[in-house]
């Protein structure tokens, strides 16, 4: 497990939610976040590994990091 030096403005815990719940939770958090803020999404759905980068590419937001933890993933997304 690595430690990363990003302090998210908000963490969205979507563990346990089925697809597309985690991506929609992330979009909802980004929607209300300030420009430049970082949102961290916690998801245990493999589908998020493709959903999240596809959406950030489409939306022009930066996926700063994807971390694999013991039982979930962390996605750090910066709102443009």
């Amino acid at each position: 497990m690595t430690e990363i030096d990003i302090e998210p403005a908000e963490t969205v815990d979507a563990r346990g939610a089925a697809c597309p719940g985690p991506l929609m939770d992330l979009i909802g958090a980004i929607r209300s976040a300030e420009s430049g803020a970082v949102v961290c999404l916690l998801s245990d759905t493999e589908q998020s590994l493709t959903d999240v980068p596809e959406w950030t590419d489409e939306a022009g937001y930066e996926l700063l990091a994807t971390e694999e933890r013991d039982d979930h993933y962390e996605f750090y997304v910066e709102k443009a």
Binding site: A17, A18, C19, P20, G21, I27, R31, D51, A59
Partner: protein, 380 residues
């Protein structure tokens, strides 16, 4: 001592549950050992699927209203009131119209979804919806006289009630304009927040070719950020769509009471998705849209979940282990035009496989809509 069950919300889930409990616990209720109260802030029960047909001039909003008291077994106390506070530690709640708080032994939250269009600037002024009676009536005024231009159906927020309804609307609109010889004059565009046209990949995979065949334009990864009521909807992804008529599925949320009670965020109760028990409190259940299970916000879900909760509460009152569980069962008819529909059935383990659209399924849907009142009464 009398066991008190309070059900908050007289929609499909709450009403079916009240009648289910009257059936299961009738003798105990008659003996005064159990009391069941169903609280709703409207004297009417509202069957929302009727609203899909209102903008096309096919149904009236009143078709979806019946007096709640007439639908519910006489052994149930129907209270037209609003719950203003829940203390799950003390197992007590307050009503708006009562001076003193009321204790409960079992609490069931079936408060459903509310619309939050104000969260997207310009959406209220610039868009129409068919997810409310007033919205469906206002949209009817526009749609019936709409003969040319850009019609945009935008799913702004998920989860939302009846996940099939946005697809149904564009399929029906396509057919409706086609039958009236106006389709060449009307461009239809459908937008969805993620990379496909429906949250469920199997339904999306089925629906997308139908949309292409029907010349319904699709914009995926489209999350409305703002609406200019002069005729432009702009997405977070930086896409502008011009429209002459915007029909939106507004963002939804639950009621504030749930978050204040510490039971979950945005008005949805965190539950065990099999037992439907609240994770943050004892003797509290949630069902229907209110229960954050990840399954669609659909009447069939509330109906099946009500049976599970009824059986569990009845078992607990009888001092027996509660064994009933919800398996994610969902049934849904999907209109694919004005005279054809598909049908899906799925659960937590088995994905949906949409049936080929047919006139028979369309009539099955309409027939069920009529017989829904038997469901509400606990008979079907």
């Amino acid at each position: 001592m009398t066991e008190r069950i309070v059900i908050v919300g007289g929609g499909t889930g709450g009403t079916v549950l009240a009648n289910d409990l009257a059936d299961r616990l009738g003798a105990a209720i008659d003996a005064g050992d159990v009391e069941v109260t169903l609280v709703n802030d409207d004297p009417d029960h509202v069957y929302k699927p009727v609203w899909l047909y209102v903008p096309f001039g096919q149904r009236e909003p009143e078709d979806g209203r019946r007096r709640l008291r007439e639908l519910v077994d006489d052994r149930i106390e129907v209270r037209i009131d609003r719950v203003t506070e829940i203390d799950t530690d003390a197992e007590r709640l307050r009503y708006r119209d009562a001076a003193v708080p009321v204790d409960y032994d079992y609490l069931v939250l079936a408060t459903g979804s509310t619309l939050a269009p104000e969260t997207v600037p310009g959406l209220e002024a610039g868009g129409y919806d068919y997810y409310s009676e007033s919205g469906a009536k206002a949209l009817r005024e526009e749609l019936l006289s709409f003969t040319e231009g850009d019609l945009v159906l935008s799913v702004v927020g998920t989860p939302h009630m009846c996940p099939a309804a946005p697809l149904e609307f564009v399929f029906m609109a396509d057919d409706w304009f086609r039958e009236r010889g106006l389709r060449d004059e009307v461009d239809i565009t459908y937008t969805y927040p993620i990379q496909r046209v429906h949250g469920n990949p199997h339904i999306a995979e089925w629906a997308r070719p139908l949309m292409d065949e029907r010349d319904i334009s699709v914009e995926t990864f489209f999350n409305a950020e703002s609406v200019d009521p002069d005729g432009t909807i702009t997405s977070m992804e930086g896409v502008d769509l011009d429209y002459d008529l915007l029909v939106s599925i507004p963002p939804h949320r639950g009621i504030d009471l749930i978050e204040k009670a510490g039971l979950g965020d945005d008005g949805w109760v965190d539950v065990d998705k099999h037992t439907l028990e609240a994770e943050a409190a004892e003797n509290v259940y949630a069902l229907g849209d209110t229960a954050d299970t990840g399954v669609p916000n659909a009447g069939s879900v509330a109906h099946y979940q009500a049976g599970v909760v009824g059986q569990r509460i009845a078992s607990e009152i009888r001092g027996r282990p509660a064994t009933a569980t919800y398996d994610g069962k969902t049934l849904c008819f999907i209109e694919t035009g004005m005279d054809a529909a598909s049908f899906v059935e799925f659960d937590y383990e088995s994905p949906p496989s949409p049936a080929p659209p047919s006139e028979k399924l369309h009539w099955s849907k309409l027939a069920y809509n009529e017989s829904y009142w038997l469901t509400a009464r606990g008979l079907l």
